[in-house]
Amino acid sequence: MKPLFDGLRRAGVAGAVLLPAAAFAQDAAQQAAPVADKGDTAWMMVSTLLVLMMILPGLQLFYGGLVRTKNMLSVLTQIGAATCLAMLIWVVCGYSLAFGPDAPAPFTPFIAGLDRMFLAGITPASTAATFTKGVVIPEYVFICFQMTFAAITLSIVLGGIVERVKFSALMVFALVWMPIVYLPIAHMVWASSGLFFTMGALDFAGGTVVHINAGVAALVAAIVAGKRLGYMKDSMAPHSLTLTLVGTGLLWVGWFGFNAGSALEANGSAALAMINTFVATAAAGLAWLAAERLFGHKPSALGLASGIVSGLVAVTPAAGHAGPLGAILLGAVTALACYVAVAIIRPKLKYDDSLDAFGIHGVGGIVGAIGTAIVYAPALGGQGAADYDMAAQLGVQIAAVCATIAWSTVGTLIALFIARAVTGLRVTTEAEREGLDLAEHGERAYNL
């Protein structure tokens, strides 16, 4: 998903100018002003709504099933409201700051300008370029597609700090975090003038922007917010693994919008991303079960779900770059890494990353981003050229990962401190004990 942005802007203008001509210009290829192929448009609209489904109800259920009954609605409401907020931020300034015309130097590599605030100047006839020269999609579709990425990233972060933070604090956090963390990183990775883009970092569908970023932010937030009352003492068993498994299924289904949609076209590259998103995930699901057996436990439903999600995270940056065998490998290895992070390391450390947003999205994202440099190699069936220099690419990937971690950590700290200053961040002990559903939202999830 690296639209060639000069092309994009030019195409957008061209489309607007040539609007009256569009009707008879059905056959785009030979035209001066490209018109969107309807197959591409259909696919990208579907991809967009698939990513929405990943959040509502996918992630809501995946996360919600893991908390205690008394906090179920708070998770659903937090994710739902954060998604709404992220969308509004996106049209107000987000799209412009991430993908708008270049900001003046020295900001160019880090952020774009504000010219497209409120989507100024964009019409139904505006188009955005894809990776293929001369192929475009309606710009509104591109905006929507990217909007869902912003929303899901913010939502994943919440997994680190459920069951204890005020709803108002999360809203303030979101308002600050989006502009200072998400938008710059999205610009750096996906805009042609962005820092990582110019470095040549490989990130097919947003492993850095979405998963590493969200995972790290969740970890930082979990540490700053502190542990839940009774953490490691009371039973905090998931209130409904059934819902978590439903969420897992919807995440997998929706993730094809995320990964195959990131091809921006309905073509062979999308098809490759699709098969990789199948097999990496399947391998990761089974690998997690195998890891449980290996470490003396029973193969569990939550293990399968965790493996599936870690595989999806892993294959995100590699989706259009790896071959199926490379993807299987990457999925399996990442699942093992996440298993160790979540089941062995986290219980030993003191932080309460409640839903393992870091353990799965952060760790999985990092392994996936670095692994992408490996599975890109043609020897492993990857799409790299014959003279692909793996060592160099590994360096680039690691640099991008480290920079993302650093930026996300600092920005998240700032956002948290502002949220704490404004709202106090955590609910009272009583509210936490009674549950956020009643205390913060005045409702109970179930009246059976």
Partner: protein, 112 residues
């Protein structure tokens, strides 16, 4: 009258109910409880977190019977609920001062 309270393994409910009916008892009240005792529950594991499920699902059966029937009925229940394994449960007997059938207002023995 006596109230017989039995804590039993859930899958023995059908047997106990049949034993009661054969013993001439017309009604009973059942509730879901969790028991803690010699029988230990399974260990549950969710990602890193292990929980000993030391509360095992049980059913509580409450039956009010005439004093004269108490011994017979209590034995019938215990027999029907017995598997011989830990966790079979307990049976307690308490005295009841008064019983009322709410529908009719009938009292004591006639209320059962």
């Amino acid at each position: 009258m006596k109230l017989i309270t039995a804590i039993i393994k859930p899958f023995r409910l059908e047997q106990v109910r049949e034993a009661l009916m054969q013993g001439g008892v017309q009604g009973m009240t059942v509730s879901e409880v969790r028991g803690f005792g010699r029988q230990r529950g399974q260990t549950e594991q969710y990602r890193g977190a292990e929980y000993d499920l030391n509360l095992v699902p049980k059913l509580k059966i409450e039956v009010v019977v005439e004093d004269a029937d108490m011994q017979r009925i209590a034995e019938a229940i215990a027999l029907a609920a017995q598997t011989g394994n830990p966790g079979d449960g307990k049976l307690f007997v308490t005295s009841i001062g008064q019983a009322v059938r709410i529908r009719t207002g009938e009292l004591d023995e006639t209320a059962l």
